[in-house]
Amino acid sequence: MAAKRKFNIFDHELVPEHRILSDEEKAELLKKYNIKLSQLPQIKASDPAVEELGAKPGDIIEIKRKSPTAGIYYYYRIVVED
């Protein structure tokens, strides 16, 4: 699966920035929205961006997207097993 890619997908302009949240940030996020991990949107461990970051199931990914209405919009997804 983790075969070497010839290019970094994050270099592509259509791929938004992805980032793994630290444990503190994770706790903060869950507290802010008063949710359990299972109530977060999901992203598969086999997602190219997740593989590139090396995130493991259980990690939360922060996606910084461009938004036509809000300018910048942060979306959070929990990594789940494939």
Partner: protein, 905 residues
Amino acid sequence: MHSIKKVIGKIEFGILAPQEIRKMSAAEITVPDTYDDDGYPIDGGLMDKRLGVIDPGLRCETCGARAGECPGHFGHIELARPVIHVGFAKTLFRVLQSTCRECGRILLTDEEIEEYMHKFEFAEGRRSEINRLIKEIHKKVKERKTCPHCGAPQFPIKFEKPTIYWETRIDEEGNEYKHRMMPSEVRDRLEKIPDKDLSLLGFHPENSRPEWMVLTVLPVPPVTTRPSITLENGVRAEDDLTHKLVDIIRINNRLKTNIEAGAPQLIIEDLWDLLQYHVTTYINNETSGVPAAKHKSGRPLKTLSQRLKGKEGRFRGNLSGKRVNFSARTVISPDPMISINEVGVPLAIAMELTIPEKVTEFNMEKLKKLISNGPDKYPGANYVIDPEGRRIRIMETNRETVLEMLDIGWTVERHLMDGDIVLFNRQPSLHRMSIMAHRVRVMPYKTFRLNLSVCPPYNADFDGDEMNLHVPQTEEAQAEARILMEVQNHIISPRYGGPLIGGIQDHISGGYLLTREGAYFTRLEVEQMLMFAGVDVDELPEPDRVEKGVEFWSGKTIFSLLLPKDLTIWYENKVGCKDKEKCEKLKKAIEEKLVLSDEEIRELSDDGFVYIRNGKLLSGVIDKKAYGREDGRLLDLIVKEYGTERGKQFLNQVTKLAIWVITHKGFTTAIDDEDLPQDAIERIREIIREAENNVNRLIQAYEMGELDAHPGKTLEETLESLIMQKLAEARDQAGDIASQYLGMGNHAVIMAKTGARGKILNITQMAAMLGQQSIRGKRLYRGYRGRVTTHFKPNDLGAEAKGFVVNSYKSGLTPTEYFFHAMGGREGLVDTAVRTAQSGYMQRRLINALQDLKVDYDGTVRDPSGIIVQFRYGEDGVDPMKSWGGKTLNVDRVIVRTLLKMRGE
């Protein structure tokens, strides 16, 4: 409110095993009859008292409860011979093809079984993946000639709809012959399939064995599922299901006696097929290839599938949507005199629909008056509810006692009265604005009345449309309707952030007649129109003109009386500027100074550019751009800066004012609106000649091979597009000539230019020429070989032969032109029909997917289990209905308002 005691964790579906059917059965049913001559249920019959009771007075022999309390109990029929369940016939065919006829194993090698088991595990219950695998296995296995497990030869199986299976066998001499597999043989084979192979066929061995798809026992639904009804003449009519079950039992019994008597195989098979037919139609009476079972009257029976399927079926008709109380439906008609948030309710409906009102010391007298009026005199009341919750119908006989007993804490269900809040709805309810809250106005006659401005959100007209009305019963529901659903809260559309409700048609034309340059009115007229529009002014402004002692007010001055006193706005209107330079100068001047002097206004003002300063219309005419739908700038501004209530008031007043003006000035359009002078007609003819010549030259060039193909197009396509271009030009030129001769004195032109109704193109088509007719953007070409109709030579590429109509609606179409026009017109009809069907389906899918999502108090969008869909609604948390074109703030407006304030204006 009840607290939730139990939560459904999961639901498992499966097929009933014969043993299970027997276990849940309260009685075996053997008698093909219902009631005896005394009307008493026959033991062992289809109305057996062990299956529950529906007649009052009888007790259920299974649970002991009376009719209405007993939920009913299943019974069963032991079938003399097994029959195929139609709903599973296709599945059975697949299973038969996939398994060995001798040992019952799946026709995969052990290695393949291993491999697929692995793949199934990997699919992890994903339905689409599992379905794909099952299909793949079936495709692979059905061609296998021998069993990989026992080596037995396999024969091809044919499936004859709906329930017959044939096996093509080979006899000792090597001849092929067809063997019919009776259901018992099918069942024997299925029984042999081992559990471990079943999952590869898509079965869950514990919940559904394939042989259970061949019925040996038939469940008989409880009596409560198929109640008999007594007609007026006292005759009992049985439910369709009961009729069908009678047939099944009768044939089953006959089959049983014949088998026991050792009847010939042929007779037994005939009866067996008959049993199969009855069971098939009992399950689905619309099976293709099976004649539907019918009543004596010829009406097809409504059996199990028919109860569930389709629009009127259990799912769509009773679970997704149901009939409700406190609602009314009738034809709608227009009433320009009522407010946009009112609805005219016929008296007869107002006396049927009620609102529960709690008795307090403040309303006691009023409610007592209503009760003494009773249900038949308006305004009255139909029921009272005592503190224990008992409903008492008010009647002539008990009126006095009810009045005496009535006290604080009782509830009176009084008639609908003026000012009550109700929900008003027109199907298809495609968006939020299809259901809005209105205030009741009780009126005579039998139709619902609504203001013309609310026709667009409902998409209503008055060619026989009907609408529904619902009366919210609780204070919470009424408050919610009042705050969220009232019409004025929906003037601004959430789709594009502009007004969805606004002036239409005559409202726009009238606004133009009122405010155009040179429109002056006498004191009498002004007083009348203001009174009509419901505008409350203490004193009229100074007259704009006094001639021979007669005072005159301009329409602009009168219009200004409806505007908020500090409203300032400027824009180029729909009519537009004739002198672009002058308008540009005016716009610049306003943007620079904001406040122009009287001289500047006199010099620069133009009917095409609106300038309103501090609630005074100083320049420009009022048209669709002011308070029309979609682009009503003025209405938009009033709603957003002065609130929905002010917006409603403005719209009510301005539409009535416009109606007064249009009725008193007179406004008609007729065929002479399309009259053109002779020289205009000459010029149009010249254009047509010119266009035809151009087309002929192009065709000649093409035929001589002098035409160069455009990039990406063939030579023919190039020619077509050049011709189309030339002909479109010709129509535009003809239209230009027509509009040169038709000015703002022409009512059709007024309507087109102000945006009230129609486009200039419509006038062009009426007065000058219809132009090119097209299908799918191409000139007409279909019909005969190389030509559309036989009136032309084959392969004629000329304008006239391919749908160019040189006549106008007024001059009249030639027969060929008429036919071309019908061809083009048909495309439009087909398009709308197809589009509505497709968008309706899409809409239902979307609604099913989105209906349970909501915006939470923290601004997140979540589903019912709290799973987050958006971390902020719309990513920016903005309600488009309450925004400035999608933005939370309009900085320009803030600056304008501040500047005006600073200058003390």
